[in-house]
């Protein structure tokens, strides 16, 4: 009897491997875990997109649960994402901070004037230094930041209704509840 059971070992091994490999078929290799989740926003000091004289630092983003959105005029998926961001902005759930990534100032401003501006503040990251420190590898990318300025989640790709309902909004509610307990808004 014991010997018979031993004969089943290869079959069991095969099934275990089969399950793992089958699951692997549906993984998206583009979905990388951000190395920055759980870490504070990297220190930066950059101009506001609309105003050269207005400097924004990582400290300016603290205090509220917020969404950092990396975008650029050269990025087609950002154009696809834009109407949804406008909708979010109207709902006023949380501040959306834009990071205008490796872009031209005039073109970015023109784009916002034409299509609407969903951003509370827009940070002008012309040479992509903040993007590099954030580990951005393409646009659009979005970061959920808690009220202490700690990055909680990174989403690479355009935000749409599904991602918002399934992932982002539940996390935001949780973070906002935690922020309230802490006494922030």
């Amino acid at each position: 009897m014991k010997k018979r059971l031993v004969l089943f070992i290869p079959l069991v091994l095969f099934l275990v491997m089969g399950v793992f490999l089958y699951k692997g078929l549906f993984l998206n290799p583009q979905n990388l875990d951000s190395a920055l989740e759980g870490k504070p926003i990297p220190a930066f000091q950059l101009e506001r997109l609309e105003d050269r004289g207005d400097l924004i630092t990582n400290e300016s983003l603290k205090g509220k649960v917020s969404l950092l959105n990396v975008w650029a005029t050269w990025c087609p998926s950002c154009k696809y994402e834009h109407p949804y961001l406008m909708r979010l902005a109207r709902q006023d759930i949380l501040p959306i901070y834009g990071i205008n990534y490796r872009d031209e100032r005039a073109m970015a401003i023109r784009e916002l004037n034409r299509q609407g501006d969903p951003y509370t503040v827009n940070i002008f990251d012309h040479d992509g230094r903040l993007g590099l420190d954030l580990g951005v590898y393409g646009a659009p990318e979005s970061y959920l930041v808690d009220h202490n300025g700690i990055i909680r989640y990174r989403y690479a790709g355009p935000i749409d209704q599904r991602v918002w309902n399934e992932t982002l909004f539940p996390m935001i509610e949780e973070l906002q509840a935690a922020a309230k307990l802490d006494g922030a808004s």
């Binding site: 990388l32 875990d33 190395a35 590099l132 580990g135 590898y137």
Partner: protein, 160 residues
């Protein structure tokens, strides 16, 4: 006639340059402080993966991210940073993913030691298998005294 040949040669030359440019890797005009540093920086950039086009290293890839990261590696090497520091810089931003050669740690033991374990397992099975076969062979050769007598009898009968 001569003109035609020249034209033909010209076309071949032109097409050759076009082909070679299509396969060329991106060329940077970065000047290193020393040849040693250049060698080290290139080696390092070769061992780091571009986060955008995932099957290319930082040298091969022409994506903006790879360009940025490549330049960052060059500058850090020139500034006298150690390899470890540069790798730490990259992994703290882009994760372990950028390392073509994963680090040895609890998470990657299976990756590093798995093949060795499988090899040992295979050798072990092979060893037992061969030993078992040898034992059965010996079993077959040994006949009891009675059987031997019986066999001799039969053989004699067959001779007659």
């Amino acid at each position: 006639m001569n003109k035609l040949i020249f034209k033909f040669l010209g076309m071949i030359l032109l097409s050759m340059t076009l082909i070679s440019s299509a396969f060329a890797t991106p060329v940077d005009t970065y000047e290193f402080k020393s040849v040693d540093k250049q060698k080290r920086a290139l080696e390092l950039a070769h061992s780091l993966r571009c986060p955008q086009c995932q099957n290319q290293n930082l040298i091969d890839s022409n994506s903006p991210v790879a360009q940025d990261l490549r330049l960052e590696v060059y500058q850090m090497v020139d500034a006298g940073k150690a390899d470890d520091e540069i790798i730490e810089f990259m992994t703290s931003r882009y994760g372990e993913f950028v390392l073509y050669k994963p680090r040895m740690e609890a998470k990657t033991y299976a990756l590093w030691l798995g093949p060795v374990a499988l090899l040992l397992f295979g050798l072990l099975i092979g060893f037992f298998f061969i030993r078992k076969q040898r034992i059965t062979e010996v079993d077959e050769q040994e006949l009891s005294a009675e059987d031997q007598k019986e066999l001799d009898k039969l053989l004699k009968r067959a001779d007659k």
